[in-house]
């Protein structure tokens, strides 16, 4: 079944915006979506897969290499022809074993042919694409550590059972979860470039609109897809245009100062906050088709780039999003 179209998702603008920004500039470093059940988190991620522009990759390459020279030797590819493939969006299920994630000895080959071969895992599959972890806060610690390491270095190294393999693993991490079920370790939080909090819409009209579209999607699929695929294509084109204009975008000194001041006032840990905020603001400006970065761009993306980098205050029931908004108000006016 085709996924629900991205453009047909009602509301949840911040989540949609965050995902589009990472599609424009993957180096922003992933999105964390926290919110209640049934708010369209998984729907949005799966919809994103269908929305993204295709990539050029070598056919049959386990790590989706762009050029023939980059295909790893262990893949044993005979013909190296390039073709257009959809951007990979790989699901990392809870309870996936280390072997599934990093790849391991190919038992099948070992048993039948007695060969020592490498069977690539999910990290290889996700290279140049997205890695989606639903319920990321329930992920087992040792898998989290492993992901942190790979997300940081962009390379997956397997040294076990007599295998010694390394391959590129550059992916955008998308995590979703329900904060009531457990917190995320700050180290992993920090690795996500953007973070959004979703809640179910409170207005009856919006809720009815959601139900109506879903119902149409299920009962009148053909017509519904026809109607929304055009919108999806429009977003896709806009992403492609934004990617191009991103390089030409000017970043005035003044805006850089704004960014630094904002992060300083919020006391966010490390410099990652500044970098991400800047990248996100640039991607946002490109998306809006503006020629130069301004204070307005920074203001719009500040909450999603910074809210998960603040020190947690267990008594603050309003949530860190409001704290960021307040500080943005104070610093940028």
């Amino acid at each position: 079944m085709t996924p629900f179209p991205f453009s047909a998702i009602v509301g949840q603008d911040e989540m949609k915006r965050a995902m589009i920004l990472t599609a424009i500039d993957p180096s922003i470093g992933g999105v964390l979506v926290f919110g209640d059940r049934g708010t369209g988190k998984s729907t949005a991620v799966r919809a994103l897969a269908a929305l993204l522009p295709p990539i050029k990759a070598i056919k049959g390459c386990p790590v989706n290499s762009a050029k023939a020279a980059e295909v790893p030797g262990w893949a044993n590819l005979k013909t190296k022809r390039s073709h257009e493939a959809p951007t990979p969006v790989v699901d990392l299920p809870l309870g996936a074993t280390e072997d599934r994630v990093t790849g391991a000895l190919d038992i099948e080959k070992a048993l039948t042919k007695g060969e020592k071969a490498f069977q690539p895992g999910l990290l290889a599959k996700a290279n140049r694409g997205y890695l989606y972890i639903d319920e990321v806060n329930l992920l087992e610690d040792h898998i989290v550590d492993l992901l942190l390491d790979v997300a940081q270095s962009g390379e997956n190294v397997v040294e076990r059972e007599g295998l010694s393999i390394r391959h590129p693993a550059r992916f955008v991490l998308v995590g979703s979860g329900n904060p009531e079920e457990g917190e995320l370790r700050p180290q992993l939080l920090d690795r996500f470039g953007l973070s959004v909090e979703v809640t179910s819409p409170k207005e009856i009209d919006t809720r009815v609109a959601v139900i109506k579209r879903r119902d149409a999607f299920e009962n009148d699929n053909a017509a519904f897809m026809l109607r929304w695929q055009a919108e999806d294509a429009a977003i896709r084109d806009r992403i492609l245009t934004a990617r191009k204009s991103l390089t030409k975008l000017k970043t005035p000194e003044k805006t850089l100062k704004d960014v630094a001041e904002l992060c300083l006032a919020l006391g966010s840990d490390g410099l990652r906050g500044e970098l991400t905020l800047l990248k996100a603001a640039r991607a946002y400006a490109a998306w809006r088709d503006d020629t130069a970065l301004t204070r307005a761009h920074v203001r719009d993306v500040a909450p999603m780039a910074l809210r998960h980098r603040l020190r947690r205050d267990p008594l603050d029931e309003a949530g860190s999003g409001t704290r960021v908004a307040r500080t943005v108000e104070e610093v940028l006016g």
């Binding site: 059940r37 809870l94 309870g95 139900i211 109506k212 267990p314």
Partner: protein, 540 residues
């Protein structure tokens, strides 16, 4: 509608439209449940909480491959659509729940009948799953006598689409879900599908008010998080006419109140208790905890026979050792001159991992406590320390007096150091209970992140009089303490309140209740007795 009728109806609807996801049946194993299950297709696949990924998703059939000498692929249970019965669903690990939830989300014709045999209120099916199942039925209070023996009507999957809906039905359903405090939008979608399926069951080509009413009752009642306020009595709306409402009459004007009543009638009596229990236990069982066996890390346990699955690590030496005695026999049997290993030889590595416990003593050193029992509390802590030392628990020490709390000792195993700090603890000043709990909370959180299991022991006489901001305000101080207690409980941190006052303090008992903690009022007693009670309350 009693819960038996409800359950049978839900099963019928499920058979018509598997897109409804499924049903959770809460009942102990017994004749009632068996009778209900006899209504479903006897060939339905059954799965259990310990099912392996290979069985679910398919993959290499290792045993067959090894015996036959060529590749044998195994088809997973999820490869083909259909209903599945999950027994002992309350014991399903997060991993399985996540896999099943994913399969249900894919909308490939799977449906799940989860049999919840939980005995305690906090033993329940993973919320990830219940969220994706349209129905829930509780048969624990149904006796065999109450069950009807109606032959199940004609079941079988039928196309539930295209049943004409009353135009305002969508709005109504959404509105009711909102009034019941159901945030998730999956719920109203289920209601819609259930109403359509019910119309089919009744052999109608359009959805009527009755369908919607029943669908609301079936899909919304168990999800309600608040009881809707009864609207002011309205003049009785004319009952919806079901006989002549054909397609021409598109709007049915079902009064919302009617639908709400249908749901309200099915709301469980102990809804609020259940909610509280649910809230209090959320966030538990996510990894940190007591001892657990695994096959990845920790202290090694003896290897055992088993299948290579789910990332279990093979114990090569053990496997070879098990295979060795058979080599000559197998060589003779097959004529092959190599080491021959059969699936039955496989030995799997096992490990036991224990998360250490951290006891955080939060000691009241205020003037009032100093006057009464500080010395005694100190003695008790010392005795507990000795026990903690024997169990290799970690301990931390927080004292509060004057206007603030102080971390006297970060988590440590050093007995000597703890004793020295404790002996040097002076008494006097106000009772900033909230600040003390706050510091303990920070420590507990920190410890949890490091994989310890924290327990907070609060020793106080309960007369909190300093608020969190350091001002002397008795009322604010109590509010602050309650608020932190709620946070602690929300985080699922175990606690223990020891009342060291001369007389048991009701406020402290309240606090313990908010914390979901054991409360030990200690009338004049010696340190030995205090430590004994603590040990009992901690459970070992």
């Amino acid at each position: 509608m009693d819960s038996w009728t409800q359950a049978t109806l839900a099963l019928q609807l499920l058979a018509i439209d598997p897109g409804l996801g499924g049903i959770t049946i809460r009942a102990r194993s017994g004749p009632v449940r068996d009778k209900l299950l006899s209504q479903i297709d006897p060939n339905t696949k059954r799965i259990h909480p310990a099912i392996t990924d290979e069985t679910l998703f398919g993959g290499l059939d290792l045993s067959a491959t090894l015996t036959r000498g060529h590749l044998v692929q195994e088809q997973g249970l999820l490869a083909r659509p259909g209903a599945m019965v999950l027994t002992m669903a309350e014991r399903a690990p997060v991993r399985l729940a996540a896999h099943l939830a994913q399969a249900l989300d894919r909308n490939a014709g799977h449906s799940l009948i989860a049999l919840d045999e939980g005995a305690e209120p906090d033993e329940a099916v993973d919320p990830k799953l219940t969220e994706r199942l349209a129905f829930q039925a509780d048969l624990s209070d149904v006796s065999l006598h109450d069950t009807s023996t109606d032959p199940p009507g004609e079941t079988g999957q039928r196309d539930a689409r295209g049943r004409a809906l009353p135009s305002d039905a969508l709005t109504q359903i959404t509105d009711i879900a909102a009034q019941l405090g159901i945030d998730s939008l999956r719920a109203p979608l289920f209601t819609l599908r259930a109403a359509q399926a019910h119309a089919i069951l009744q052999d109608r080509d359009h959805v009527t008010a009755e369908d919607i009413e029943i669908a609301c009752a079936l899909t919304l009642a168990h999800r309600a998080t608040r009881i809707p306020e009864p609207a002011p009595q309205q003049p009785q709306a004319p009952p919806p006419d079901q006989t002549e409402s054909q397609n021409s009459d598109d709007t049915l004007n079902i009064p919302d109140e009617l639908l709400l009543d249908a749901v309200r009638a099915l709301l469980p009596d102990n809804l609020l208790e259940k909610l509280a229990a649910q809230k209090a236990r959320q966030g538990r069982g996510n990894g940190t905890g007591a001892a657990r066996k695994g096959n990845r890390r920790g202290r090694p346990l003896p290897a055992r026979a088993g299948k290579i699955s789910d990332g279990a690590r093979i114990d090569i030496i053990g496997t070879l050792r098990a295979a060795a005695p058979w080599q000559t026999i197998r060589k003779n049997a097959t004529g092959r001159d190599t080491i021959q290993i059969r699936p039955s030889d496989f030995r799997i590595k096992r490990f036991e991992e224990k998360s250490d416990r951290l006891l955080i003593f939060t000691v009241d050193a205020s003037g009032s406590a100093a006057l009464t029992r500080l010395a005694e509390a100190k003695g008790a802590v010392e005795l507990l320390l000795a026990q903690a030392y024997a169990r290799r628990d970690h301990v931390a020490l927080v004292a509060f007096r004057g206007t603030e709390a102080e971390l006297l000792l970060p988590p440590t195993r050093s007995l000597v150091q703890t004793k020295r700090r404790l002996a040097g603890l002076p008494g006097g000043g106000g009772t900033p209970l909230a600040a003390g709990m706050m510091t303990a909370f920070e420590q507990a959180n920190h410890a949890k992140r490091k994989g310890l299991t924290p327990t907070i022991a609060i020793l106080t006489d309960g007369r909190a009089n300093i608020a969190l901001d350091g001002t002397a305000n008795r009322k604010q101080a109590a509010t602050d303490a309650q608020q932190i207690a709620r946070t602690l409980r929300g985080q699922g941190i175990d606690a223990l309140v020891i009342d060291t006052g001369n007389r048991p303090e009701p406020a402290l008992r309240n606090l313990a209740q908010t914390l979901d903690a054991a409360y030990l009022p200690l009338p004049r007693a010696d340190a030995q007795k205090l430590s004994q009670s603590v040990a009992t309350a901690l459970g070992d």
